[in-house]
Amino acid sequence: MLRNNNGAVITRMATHSLVRNKGKNIVLILAVMLSAFMLFTVLTVGGTWIRMLKLEMLRTQGGEFEAVLYGFTKEQEEICQGHPEIKAVGIGAYSGWGIKTEQDDTLHSIFVWADKTQWETILKPARKWVKGSYPQKANEVMVTREVLKDCGMEQLNVGDSFTITYGDNLGEHTRELVISGMWGGYGDKKTFYVSKEFFEQSGFMLQDNATGLLHLQLKSGIITNKLFERLEKDLKVDKKQRLIPSSTAQTGMVYVLLGVLGLIAVICLSAYLLIYNILYLSVSGNIRYYGLLQTIGMTPKQIYQLVKKQVWLIGAMGIGMGLVLGIVTSFGLIPAIVKGLGIHEKHIEIVFHPFIFGLSILFTVATVKIGSRKPARLATLSSPIEALGYRKVSLKKQTRKPAKGGILWRMAKERIGRDKKKTAMVVASLGISLSVFLCMVTLIESQGPRTIVSNYMESDMIINNDTMQMREKNEWKPLIDISFLENIKEDEAIKKVYPVYNEEIVIPWQAEFIDYWMTNFYDMWMQEAYDDVKEDYQKHPEKYYSFLVGIDKDAFRYLNLTMENTVAEKDFLEGKACILYDNMLGLDFEKVNGQKISYYLKDNPKQRYQMTMQGITNDTHYANLLGTPPTLIVSSTFLKKITKNPYISKLGIEYEREYDEEAEDRIKDLMDDSSYKKDFSYSSKIEEVKTVEKAQGNMMRIGMGLALLLAFIGIMNYVNTSVSNLQTSQMELSVMESIGMTQKQLQKLLVREGVLYAVSALLFAATIGLFITYCLYQSMNYRQIPFEVPVLPVLLAGATVMLMCIAVPLIAYWRLGRKETLVERIRGFE
């Protein structure tokens, strides 16, 4: 059979139809355009974010690796080499530190050996240029301009030699080194890269935590929690070793990828709903036209092609416009979103990969294709009989029992239940946009800056005495003394201050508890074993001094609430009981509770004190001064009794009014006026909030923008359905009016219909939306902030949906019916 060449006429008809139904088609083009635009934006953001994150990580860590193992055995290295999920294994080894050159006697440089993989695979992407070659001999080094400058020898070049004094595990050496190569780029630039021979002469061992570093480049390029745990297990990482993911942002990458996929799904679904809905309504509204085409000889296949052609014309226009809009807006929008997602690079290079264009087009085309399939098929099902004016009667249901309830509610339910699938789509569309809003507002509000930024005991500001970081007590300065404290307390805007006092103590060796503590401490934190120093500790405990931390009654009460057990307040205040700082050792409370501990002040060895340990805490607020033996938290009243004017290392300040910038400025002035001005450091809730707000400000705008776009699609869906429902039921409503339904009753009917749509959408959001929000919230809830839905914005959104659902059919009815009389409306459908 010869092929009937009717393509031209179908295309012409499709084009005419497009022009004829301008209004509906503009909405369709807009829907396709919006989905193409949103898909393009989401994909570009995803692509750009991943590239920028990798770039940022590459620049900050100076190489391309996903995890580092500190201190490793030969066996672990071999496991890594053969591990199916590891692409490359590079070794970096600390080999010494610079002390002085003839030009400079305060060097800040280190010596590192990098093996071949480390230098040529792991570190290579971060290098911009290289001159010369990697050191092979013991006296050769690879340098950067920066390290030479640090040594005061920036004029040197490849082939030049210089003399340097450096230290290693065997002592200090002065040696002449030759520059075998130079490099520039990103990473630690105050490093001399040395040969394997140099490292072997340094006395350091790869197994040492602080020496050997195994850099792991993974095949996936992303380290997930599961993969990390698997690696830890496979490598049998022991307590002393550390396997650390190269950046915590890495795990964030998984969330961003999941987010991108989730957004693509939501966008496609919303767009599908809109496209399907409009097309369905358009085709069902034109069913007689298609029937008529059949009566004049058009085959169902040709009608299918006709509808499809219209859809593809619309699709092509929409996709083209969406992509152009995406490209145009991306220069401003995408960098803002990417920065909002935590990238700090100044210049964001937008990824315009053909793959992203392809994927955006593919997703949109798939959505349009799936969305138009059924409506196109519907057009072919229209019979010529329908075209002649007969109405098709559904014989699916023959009888119906009379429904109960008020006539208007009953009719409203009937009307929205008529086409359940269509109603479900409209409800889902509105529900999805409401759910996205609910999700965004809950996440932003509860994970928002003011919730996240909370200091110890809600302090608005914490001032630190930096001089107390000095090893020798005689270097400490009384930055926060009584007069400073009084000055702050006198300020009416200050509600409360929480000073943390410190005093050096010596804890003589005690068989049971000190052994238990020291064993755990050395296992966790030290390279050497406790057994190596045990005897020395027993003989010279003063060499292993520690600290008392003094806190006031309020701070004690607060701390007491955070611990698993409670400490007797009276005992604590009288100096009979103390709380042990755990120092991340994970000590067994049963082994600590009730143990007596003796100590004396380092300045006064004669006077011994004894206390019972009744509690154990890991709150790092008390961890600013730590010794090898235990740090004990005691009452400040007691501390002041046993020592005169103990130093304050930290001062928490709470304002009468939270975020009181004026009060904070006065405190800053006090610090500026102090003669120790440079030795203060502080953390301020106001400043942290500002930083977080700056980072999250974009997120808020983007999140809300997305919710608004989806809301727009949802509303478009509803408006379309509402208008078309009214159009198709205009005759019915006119008949109702003719048999006595008043305008008021009609409006009440439409209001009820709107209420039913709104309630259904709200129920959707309150169930499915809330469930998804809760799951998402908990997956991101690292700080264990209780789940709470922000009532006001959600109520406002709910009220808006309700109003919109009620107003749209009323407006549509008013617009449709205002020009015609009842007779004309009835006649128009006859």
Binding site: T399, P402, V735, G740
Partner: protein
């Protein structure tokens, strides 16, 4: 006593530069419990006259008085209430609500009026119109004649003063047409209702007490009372 009265009733439409006179000074009366048939060619103005009587359309000039009330002074709201209490409409294509069953369609005007449905009366009506067994059926499953009987029941259910029927047999075959008309006449007589019927079928018109002919928007002499 006249239940319907029109005085110099005019309805003009403007189509481009032309003015179409659908009704051009119609003076017309209908007595209580009278059955009047209006006949005329297509476009003669008979449907326009019926719509005016039912308050579905507004005249360009003149007056319509139904059951002593002037329709010209009523707003859209008042007209709707007037219709559901005083007028029962029967359309050519039945105009039943497809999602409601026979019973629900019949009681719809009563429910819209917020009145109590007299189930005894509805049952009687169903019986008279031979619809008892179809009570729970949806309109789409009924034949044309059956659907028109439902429309008649709906028109009578609220016990209106006047029934306006616009070509009620237009979509029916001859047998069904006679059945429907017989039942309409019988029911109207039983419930003492006035009927104004539009038709172009002379056989159907013969069933009326009086025939009124309309041509070019004017009543033509020659229609007459049938004894």
């Amino acid at each position: 006593m006249n239940i319907v009265e029109t005085k110099n009733l005019k309805k003009y439409y403007t189509l481009g530069e032309n003015t179409v006179k659908a009704l051009d000074g119609v003076d017309f009366t209908v007595s209580e419990q009278e059955f009047v048939a209006i006949i005329g060619k297509s476009g003669s103005g008979k449907s326009t006259l019926l719509h005016m009587l039912g308050g579905l359309d507004t005249p360009t000039e003149g007056e319509v008085i139904v059951d002593g009330r002037r329709l010209g002074g009523m707003n859209r709201e008042q007209l709707a209430i007037f219709r559901r209490r005083k007028v029962g409409f029967i359309f050519q294509n039945y105009n039943l609500v497809q999602d409601m069953n026979v019973y629900e369609n019949i009681v719809l005007p009563i429910e819209l009026d917020g009145m109590h449905v007299d189930d005894g009366f509805v049952a009687e009506l169903l019986d008279v119109l031979k619809l008892t067994e179809k009570r729970q059926m949806l309109p789409g499953t009924l034949s044309g004649g059956q659907q028109q009987r439902v429309a008649i029941a709906r028109a009578i259910a609220s016990k209106p003063a006047i029934i306006l029927a616009d070509e009620p047999t237009g979509n029916l075959d001859t047998q069904s047409s006679h059945d429907v008309m017989g039942l309409l006449k019988m029911a109207a007589k039983q419930y003492q209702q006035t009927i104004v019927l539009i038709t172009h079928d002379h056989d159907i018109a013969q069933l009326a007490d009086r025939i009124v002919r309309i041509e070019d928007g004017r009543l033509v002499k020659g229609g007459g009372r049938i004894a």
